[in-house]
């Protein structure tokens, strides 16, 4: 019942959007090359499925590995910045500034530096995902109440014992918020990476199809990319529910 109440509104909204899309695409003034209709998109999905899935698999590997890299590096960076205050002071502004550099312009540079293949895509996905992961985890680590830290000190806990038993578990919900954001933007990073130079992947397929005026295939690719991002977002949410079970029992508290 609850599930239906939660999923029904977005489902209706998507249905309305698809209907409007079909309506616009069916207008006589709109030519098939400009806009593929939902029907044409579904047809393209069915016809080109093996091709699209091959590309999607390549992109998915880039995304998952890049995301993993971002989580690993981000976790080390966040814990390091949390424990060493001078490091935080020095690195935090640099971290923020690094986000101001548009990834689109970095992508070709990464391809130059790392060659075609997996490496530049990983680098771009990781660069995009690193920021939300690191900043959210750092905020989570720092959000532990001062009174709780006082209590730990009074119990004779070492800095590392406090980190392990209090700060890291307390930072998990915040970390997962960052991971959800990272999961959604990770696909964008992989597409940019492929556009800058690649010989496989869903992003490259979309670019190629666009150049060849195969509009329905472009739309089919976009649908798959979107599903990938949404799927990763939901997976991150599921992981959170498994890793942070106490949040639910807190929410259920009368």
């Amino acid at each position: 019942m609850n599930g239906v109440r939660r999923t029904l509104p977005p489902a209706l909204l998507v249905a309305a959007g698809v209907a409007a899309w079909q309506g616009v695409a069916s207008l006589a003034a709109v030519d098939d090359l400009t806009l593929a209709s939902p029907m044409e998109t579904v047809a393209a999905l069915a016809d080109d499925l093996p091709l699209l899935l091959d590309g999607a698999l390549v992109t998915l590997v880039e995304v998952v590995l890049g995301l993993g890299l971002a989580v690993a590096v981000g976790a080390v960076a966040a814990v390091g910045m949390h424990l060493v205050r001078p490091l935080r002071r020095a690195a935090y502004p640099v971290l923020v500034a690094s986000q101001a550099i548009p990834v689109v312009v970095l992508a070709p540079l990464f391809v130059l530096a790392f060659d075609y293949g997996l490496a530049p895509k990983l680098a771009i996905v990781a660069l995009i995902c690193f920021f939300p992961v690191t900043v959210n985890l750092l905020d989570g680590l720092r959000s532990v109440e001062p009174d709780l830290l006082k209590l730990m000190r009074s119990l004779g806990a070492s800095r590392l014992a406090t980190l392990r038993r209090v700060e890291l578990p307390a930072a998990l919900p915040s970390f997962f918020s960052g991971l959800r954001v990272a999961a959604t933007v990770s696909v964008i990073g992989a597409v940019f990476g492929e556009w800058a130079g690649a010989d496989e992947g869903l992003g490259r397929l979309v670019l190629l199809a666009n150049n060849q005026l195969q509009t329905p295939r472009v739309y089919a690719g976009i649908v798959l990319l979107t599903l990938m991002a949404v799927g990763l977002f939901l997976l991150a949410g599921l992981a959170e529910r498994l890793a942070v079970p106490w949040k639910r029992s807190e929410a259920a508290r009368p």
């Binding site: 109440e145 730990m152 307390a170």
Partner: protein
């Protein structure tokens, strides 16, 4: 007041020949505040509790009661004067001698009640499973065994406070510092908790400094009650409570001698110099 002689103890641990309690001598504590200059939380405060004594400290809100406990707990140093616990003046020594129970239970929401209490042992290097095994008898003794597996979110306020108290006990320190332990509870739970604590302290005798703003709670639980003035906190009255502990609650609080003490304490609070 045997503790007075230990004033010169400086940083060296003393042999346990005297009754070791806690002592504050002429303690002043200021906090830097950029907006209003320095805030003086405590000024020239003398206070002591003998070994095994329950000293209850009452005072209006903001009289520096929490600061007092943090100094004793070794979470800070006084700007002037000396703070001694078990004959040791150094901050590390106070940290090792005192177990501090903050106002809120501060239970970790991801640990069940038993694991929360066992945390006190775990941070001292006891492996998690062994820590829980050692904590369990305490849960049984204090009637909490059936709640050992419950998460804090599933416990009532009073239960959470009991678990927090067991965590404090498990720290294994001779001195307990309790900061308004029942401040957040409703009055019925509060009365039950006071009785529970009185019995717990009878079963596990410790030197206790209990801070509260409730005069009746102070008189019911304390061997001695110290009344502090509004900030900067200083001692305005000290009352001995001539009842054996643990005390039957209703019989005690309705005793005329108890009422007279309560009257004296309230008067001391009212006539305390205003800042």
């Amino acid at each position: 007041m045997a503790t007075m002689q230990l004033k010169a103890a400086a940083t060296k641990p003393q042999p346990a020949e005297e009754a070791f309690g806690v002592e504050l001598r002429d303690v002043t504590r200021r906090f830097r505040s950029s907006r209003s200059g320095d805030v003086v939380a405590l000024r020239g405060l003398d206070l002591s509790a003998a070994d095994g004594e329950v000293l209850a400290v009452v005072g209006p809100s903001g009289c520096g009661k929490s600061t007092l406990l943090e100094l004793l707990a070794g979470l800070g140093d006084p700007d002037e004067g000396s703070v001694t616990a078990r004959g040791i003046t150094s901050r590390e020594g106070r940290l090792a001698a005192c177990a501090y129970m903050p106002q809120r239970d501060l239970l970790l929401p991801w640990r069940n009640a038993l694991a929360n209490a066992a945390l006190a042992l775990e941070v001292q290097g006891v492996p998690a499973a062994a820590a829980r095994r050692r904590a369990l008898p305490l849960f049984q003794r204090f009637g909490l065994a059936e709640f050992a597996g419950a998460l804090p979110a599933e416990l009532s306020g009073g239960m959470r406070q009991r678990v927090a108290f067991l965590r404090t006990l498990l720290a294994g320190r001779p001195v307990l510092l309790l900061d308004e332990p029942f401040g957040a509870l409703d009055s019925i739970t509060r009365a039950a908790m006071q009785e529970w604590l009185a019995e717990a302290l009878a079963a596990e005798p410790r030197t206790v400094v209990l801070v509260t703003h409730d005069v009746r709670e102070a008189l019911y639980l304390g061997d001695r009650v110290a009344v502090l003035s509004p900030r900067p906190g200083r001692l305005v009255a000290e009352l001995g409570v001539p009842f054996e502990r643990p005390r039957p609650r209703r019989k005690t609080v309705t005793d005329p001698a108890f009422a007279a003490l309560e009257e004296r304490a309230l008067q001391a609070l009212e006539t305390a110099p205003q800042p």
